[in-house]
């Protein structure tokens, strides 16, 4: 090699560019959507590990009756920080990171619509996350020992008032999430404008890949549903710092209003979190079934319908506060309506597989497991949507089991599918399929062992958020089973991390299009150059790469 290059005179400046500080400067000052997307995902994974360690401690504490691993106050902080981190610092950066990395590539654009706003969104998000964790040092305020927020991830009033929440821990919760939320809104705004204004010639809305469609609707939901949380948090700040009365019941304020405002944000939020999984499945399943997606217009319509309905279901989190029977009926009915478009989606994914030439690589395995597990999560959701049923099991481990099935057995499986699917594109190298299969099976078994018993514990009457329990209530066995799932989940996660790190450095070169796929991101090199495409592509159908590979039978003839 050296003899080939010996004639080329290399200026010394080029050598100096590879110093560590230059490299760091490149990453910190970047406005490239791919680098920002990667930074979102890497910081999301870091927070995922931190929140996972918290979950491990929580499960160890609950493994046996009268657990003594942590004291009650620490336990309250653990479940608060675990929930807050998983929703705002793991789920949201994955939404932003995936859409940042993939949307411009999929619509044939060279960057997002507002690259600097994009960088602002990422750094303000990271700053918000660090602010939340700084509470471990600064939460006690000037007076003394630090502590993290301990008010639960939905921070119900009046627990958050000055009287019950002393020190600055709750303020860190408010400000950290408020700041991170601004970043999420900035990123979502960017995704919307990018999809509306930056599509390459020929990329009509009907030809847009499903992934872009779902992320567009997801971003739309973010810019509508996140401001209510910001508004409620500003009101809480007014209460805490200016002596306001928004949630102060003693001067006529309403603690229930906080619940309304929080869940007006909070319920759309869970759809915001699950949509990336929908987006990933809608790309992975067709490629690994060698069939175009079944009923694409119905799929887009179903996502839009879920997004729309999700704005009107929030009070199903509040059946137990004693609303009017009309409200209970309305929110039971509207929640059950969500089941119809979700059913359409599951049907269409299955119909895409039906009669296809299935390739059971790891991304597809995660998608298949998603279908089963998300179906169960949806069914327990329908159960909880029924007011009287919810009165029985509200705030019990059944609820914990339900939402961990949607978010871990659903969302996380979708994210793993996506990460394996796009890993060759992002790194230019192939992951180790054998290790990935180990990861899949260990993780699936671990998730089932941990989260299925939680449903039973709920039926047996175990409330959520208790730091320990007395023996003799029939909870010991299932708690121990749930904790033992860690023996599978932890090694699975370690295998995943090892696989990603090792393959990114030493994996086999993957080539530009290892999966024989159809969307535009596979048309450029792996990893894509900074400018994405040498020439802006032109598309004539929903599967531009199919047209290129099959000039005798292109899709555009049938559109």
């Amino acid at each position: 090699m050296s003899s080939v290059h010996s004639e080329v005179e290399r200026p010394p400046v080029e050598e100096a560019r590879f110093s560590f500080s230059n490299h760091l400067y490149d990453w910190v000052s970047t406005v490239d959507h791919k680098r920002l997307g990667l930074m979102y995902i890497v910081s999301g994974l870091l927070f995922f590990v931190i929140a996972g360690i918290m979950a491990t401690v929580i499960r160890l504490q609950l493994a046996f009756p009268n657990g003594k691993v942590v004291d009650p106050d620490t336990f309250n902080r653990l479940f608060t920080m675990h929930g807050t981190t998983m929703v705002f610092l793991v789920g949201m950066p994955f939404v932003a990171g995936l859409s940042n990395y993939l949307v411009p590539l999929m619509i044939g654009a060279r960057d997002m619509a507002f690259p600097r706003l994009n960088a602002f969104g990422f750094w303000i998000f990271l700053f918000g996350g660090c602010l939340l964790y700084f509470s471990y040092i600064g939460g006690g305020g000037l007076s003394g020992a630090g502590s993290a927020p301990d008010v639960g991830w939905f921070a119900y009033a009046p627990l958050t008032s000055r009287a019950f929440s002393r020190g600055a821990s709750t303020d860190y919760w408010i400000l950290g999430i408020l700041v991170a939320g601004i970043g999420s809104i900035a990123s979502a705004l960017n995704v919307i404008v990018t999809t509306v204004s930056m599509r390459c010639p020929g990329m009509t809305l009907s030809r847009m890949p499903m992934f872009v469609w779902v992320m567009l609707i997801d971003s739309w939901l973010i810019i509508i549903a996140l401001p209510p949380l910001s508004a409620a948090q500003i009101m809480l700040l007014v209460d805490r710092f200016l002596g306001g009365n928004f949630f102060n019941t003693q001067s006529g304020g309403s603690a229930v209003l906080w619940q309304h405002f929080f869940w007006i944000f909070g319920h759309p939020e869970v759809y915001i979190l699950i949509f990336p999984a929908f987006a990933i499945l809608s790309e992975v399943i067709p490629i690994f079934s060698r069939k175009p997606i079944f009923g694409k217009p119905a799929m887009v319509g179903a996502v839009a319908a879920i997004g729309f309905i999700s704005l009107g279901v929030w009070a199903h989190h509040m059946f137990a506060v004693g609303m009017t029977s009309w409200s209970n009926t309305f929110f039971t009915a509207s929640t059950m309506l969500v089941g119809i478009p979700t059913g359409i989606k599951i049907f269409n994914w299955t119909a895409t597989m039906y009669g296809g030439k299935l390739r059971m690589d790891t991304p597809m395995l995660f998608c298949c497991a998603f279908l089963f597990q998300f179906l169960i999560a949806g069914l327990t959701g329908i159960m909880l949507a029924t007011g009287p049923f919810d009165w029985q099991l509200h705030d019990s481990y059944f609820v914990v089991g339900h939402f961990h099935f949607t978010l871990v057995a659903g969302l996380v499986f979708g994210l793993f599918a996506g990460m394996y699917y796009w890993f060759p594109k992002v790194s230019g190298r192939m992951y180790n399929e054998k290790l990935a299969k180990w990861h899949f099976w260990l993780f699936t078994i671990g998730v089932e062992i941990t989260f299925v018993p939680m449903h039973f514990l709920g039926f047996l009457g175990m409330p959520r958020r208790i730091y320990t329990y007395a023996p003799g209530r029939g909870w010991e066995f299932w708690n121990l089973v749930a904790t033992s799932g860690l023996l599978f989940q932890l090694p699975a996660t370690l295998i995943f991390v090892w696989n990603v790190v090792h393959s990114a450095i030493k994996g086999k070169p993957a080539g530009d299009d290892p999966w024989d796929a159809w969307t535009l991101e596979w048309a450029t090199t792996s990893p894509p150059p900074e400018y994405n495409f040498e020439t802006i592509p032109e598309v004539h159908s929903g599967r531009p790469l199919w047209d290129l590979k099959n000039p005798n039978d292109p899709d555009w003839r049938f559109e």
Partner: protein, 199 residues
């Protein structure tokens, strides 16, 4: 149909024009701001008449007619400024732009005087009662948006007075005026809820 099925070359795409990204950006910013304001308006409406102690709105609030007229007419003057800029009549642009700033400032001064009266004469603060909490939050949130808009208006004024060729920034001036119209529209809602229905 058969002709299409044997065609080798895809039909040409023709003219490909997508919406201006700046315009889309400002429109969706307005959408997300609307969601923020909606929650504050809802909180105000929910707590209307729920204060346990005085002072109550009907005792202390006066209709801010002058301020409202000023703010709403600033929406008209900014359109005049925009039209002048489009016709490259820079003198007229600066004049109408200055008028917009003066009208906006008058609104802010009126709000400040109103708050001074409420605080010092009527002893209504954020912590006095629910009315105080919701009133200062909603009106204050709106006023902070007016202040933000005012900063950008002043920026445009200063750079154009310093000789910057502002006519090259017609697009951005237009987007700023959209934001200003939004702030005015929010005031119509706040005025109706706080001073008409809530009194």
């Amino acid at each position: 149909m058969d002709a299409v099925l044997t065609q080798r070359v895809p039909p040409p795409i023709g003219e490909w024009k997508l919406p201006d990204r700046g315009a889309m950006g400002i429109i969706f910013l307005i959408v997300t701001e609307t969601a923020l304001f909606t929650i504050f308006v809802v909180a105000y409406v929910v707590y209307m008449g729920k204060s346990l102690t005085g002072p109550y709105p009907k005792d202390v609030l006066d209709l801010p007619i002058l301020a409202s007229v000023c703010l709403l007419s600033s929406s008209v003057t900014i359109v005049f400024a925009e039209t002048a800029l489009k016709k490259h009549r820079l003198g007229m642009f600066k004049l109408w732009w200055l008028a917009t700033i003066v009208l906006g400032l008058e609104f802010l001064v009126s709000t400040g005087l109103e708050w001074k009266k409420l605080i010092y004469e009527d002893h209504l603060t954020v912590s006095t009662n629910l009315f105080g909490t919701t009133f200062y939050s909603l009106v204050g949130l709106h006023a902070s948006h007016v202040i933000l808009g005012m900063c950008f208006l002043l920026l445009v004024m200063i750079v154009s007075l310093l000789g910057f060729p502002i006519e090259t920034q017609e697009r951005r001036v237009k987007f700023l005026s959209w934001y200003w119209h939004f702030v005015d529209a929010v005031w119509v809602v706040v005025f109706t809820v706080v001073y008409v229905i809530g009194r």
